[in-house]
């Protein structure tokens, strides 16, 4: 198997901590995953589990102070992005690895037209004439399924609908044909019909451009829809990673199982929806042992004492839970 040569981005034991007055916030505390060429990898987890910080760490966008990547490696193309200089990183951002942010409204500059912003992004990395850049922007927007592109180009963000803005944002991230696209909850802030359209766009990107996607979401329905493999993150660590069919079909970690159990089933009538009791732990003082044990339905004595090691159930399926030891 030549799985290794196929890996385009490999993250090993990434730890990003924030040093605040109230203590050290271990937002990301040992995340491992690899992204293969042309696949869509989903990072799944609740709010505050460290998904977004992981994504920002990959691009070196953690504000320092207070944040710092204290350990780990982000390997892209024989480069360790953690150790790259600011200048090297700037050349990678947008050109090699691009990112789509969650809320299109706030990710667009309110005083510049959408067209100006797309053209602007192109000029960062490519030596382009204005006209050429403009034509490319138009064709990108068309590819995103934007109707009346000329009008959208000359509109300001507040004049467009949420779906349009999200499309513009995706178009912007594609201006330099990046190898990897990181999408941070791109479907969270739009309504369901738009959500389906946006997911279609990402599916097309994968199929037509062989783009490698890191898709951050808390929505398992979206994962099932678009993901090839998924990494479940809890308390700043990945606790289970497997192909999506296995994650959904036979989750090994109680947390993953819990997340799937939370999905309402339309064929059954219930009074209450299932939920996982408790809240995500504060990243300032994570529980001893397995950080999920206070909420776990299958908690054992060992869970509060020792952190579970990551074990491979199969070549493609890893889980960190004492149940499987």
């Amino acid at each position: 198997m030549n799985a290794m040569s196929n890996v385009i981005l490999k993250i090993t034991n990434l730890k990003t901590h924030f040093f605040t007055r109230r203590g050290v916030v271990k937002a990301v505390d040992g995340v491992d995953f690899e992204l293969r060429r042309g696949e869509c990898l989903c990072l799944v987890g609740e709010s505050g589990c460290g998904k977004t910080v992981t994504a920002l760490s990959i691009l070196g966008l953690i504000d320092s102070p207070p944040g710092r990547i204290v350990d780990g490696e982000v390997r892209y193309d024989n480069l360790d992005l953690v150790k790259c200089s600011a200048r090297q990183l700037r050349q990678i951002r947008g050109k090699e690895i691009a990112m789509v942010f969650q809320e299109a409204q706030s990710a667009l500059n309110p005083v510049l037209t959408v067209g100006d912003q797309i053209i602007e992004q192109m000029k960062i990395h490519l030596p382009m004439e204005h006209r050429e850049a403009r034509n490319r922007a138009l064709s990108l927007l068309e590819e995103m399924g934007v109707p009346s592109v000329e009008r959208v180009m000359s509109s300001y963000p507040h004049q467009l609908s949420g779906g349009m803005k999200q499309r513009a944002l995706i178009a912007m991230s594609l201006t330099c044909d990046p190898q990897i696209l990181i999408a941070d909850e791109p479907t969270t802030a739009v309504d369901v019909t738009i959500k389906a359209q946006i997911l279609d766009i990402f599916r097309d990107l994968k199929a037509k451009r062989q783009m490698s996607l890191v898709f951050i979401t808390h929505d398992l329905a979206v994962v099932a829809e678009i993901g090839d493999r998924a990494v479940v993150i809890y308390g700043g660590k990945n606790i289970e990673s497997a192909p999506v069919s296995e994650i959904i079909g036979s989750p090994k970690h109680p947390y993953t199982a819990g997340l799937i159990g939370c999905l309402p089933d339309i064929s059954q009538t219930t009074d209450r929806l299932a939920s996982i009791p408790g809240n995500t732990p504060s990243p300032i003082d994570l529980p001893q042992g397995c950080s999920f044990h206070p909420r776990c339905s299958k908690v054992m004595e060992v869970c509060s004492q020792r952190e579970p090691a990551q074990i491979a159930i199969s070549q493609e399926h890893q889980v960190s839970c004492h149940l499987n030891q």
Partner: protein, 320 residues
């Protein structure tokens, strides 16, 4: 370099220039403030006066001792002439004439012509010096907010020191060292007047830099300079317009005050210079001092009214 500057200026000013709808919106909001509209009208009138007025008036430097100290039309004054033959003071009444509608000064120069050419000087001083101050203040403020850390500290402490230093004394010092040339006066006012702008722009930029579009620009590989000039500065343009409008009257007054204490450029007839000349002849020709005084008063008032109106119009939280 100049092309680069022009490019930046075009991009920075673009949002308001291109976006007609936004301009209309702000105009609608400004219009509701009647005083602001009156102020704007007066300023436009002044600009017109300064631009084309000198072509219609007499030569403001033309000295005519025959016609000295004539009062404005509608006023009379007493004129005493010492008669050598009778060894007596002959007092006669003098009326204002239409050749010199605003009267003449002690050298017989036409007051109307002087006021009109003074308008040009005062407006230029106000615009250029404010321009320098605004550009400096914006650069310091945005940089300070964006860079943060020790750079922010150094720049803001320097701003504090500039602020605690008595502004007017500094002006006097600069003029004293470099001489009373209008260029230096304008430069001095511009180079000392940026501190308030810097602080306001900094506080606005501080909240802007944490906005997601700045992070998004960084994620696309934008350099610091690009983020500052392309993303931060265009977002503070409306604030800058308000600051500029409100700082112009201060600058005009500063120049007038310098002239009044005798540190103005004597070769250029600004309102301050006329005022200063008039103070020596208050008992014989009060209008020489009063006329530029009224103009200064009205101009400052107009800019303040307009500035207040713009501030309310640009503030999305104000209910007007």
């Amino acid at each position: 370099m100049t092309r680069r500057l022009r490019d930046i200026a075009r991009k920075v000013g673009r949002p308001l220039y291109v976006n007609r709808r936004l301009v209309n919106y702000y105009w609608e909001r400004t219009r509701r403030n009647k005083l602001a509209v009156v102020g704007l009208a007066f300023i436009l009138f002044l600009i017109l006066l300064g631009a084309v007025g000198p072509f219609f008036t007499l030569d403001p430097t033309l000295v005519d001792f025959e016609q000295k100290n004539l009062p404005p039309v509608g006023f009379t004054t007493l004129k005493s002439v010492y008669d050598i033959e009778t060894d007596e003071l002959a007092t006669s009444e003098v009326r204002g004439i239409w050749t010199h509608p605003l009267g003449t000064d002690s050298k017989g120069r036409d007051m109307l012509a002087m006021i009109v050419s003074g308008a040009r000087v005062s407006l230029l001083v106000g615009l250029i010096a404010s321009g320098i101050a605004i550009v400096l203040g914006t650069i310091v403020g945005v940089l300070s907010a964006y860079l943060g850390g020790w750079a922010d500290n150094v720049m803001m402490r320097f701003t504090d020191i500039m602020m605690t230093f008595p502004f007017f004394l500094l002006l006097v010092l600069i003029v004293f060292i470099f001489g009373p040339r209008l260029v230096f006066i304008v430069l001095a006012i511009g180079l000392t007047g940026w501190t308030g702008t810097a602080r306001l722009v900094r506080s606005e930029s501080l909240s802007l830099r944490t906005r997601e579009f700045v992070m998004a620009a960084r994620a696309m590989g934008a350099s610091d300079g690009r983020i500052i000039f392309r993303h931060l500065v265009p977002n503070v343009v409306s604030l800058i317009i308000v600051i500029a409008t409100l700082s112009i009257p201060g600058v005009i007054l500063a120049e007038a005050a310098l002239s009044f204490i005798g540190l103005g450029d004597p070769t250029v007839a600004s309102w301050g210079i006329i005022l200063e000349a008039g103070q020596h002849s208050l008992d014989t020709a009060w209008w020489v001092a009063v006329e530029p005084g009224i103009m200064l008063f009205l101009t400052v008032l107009a800019f303040n009214f307009l500035g207040d109106g713009l501030r309310d119009a640009f503030d999305p939280k104000s209910n007007i």
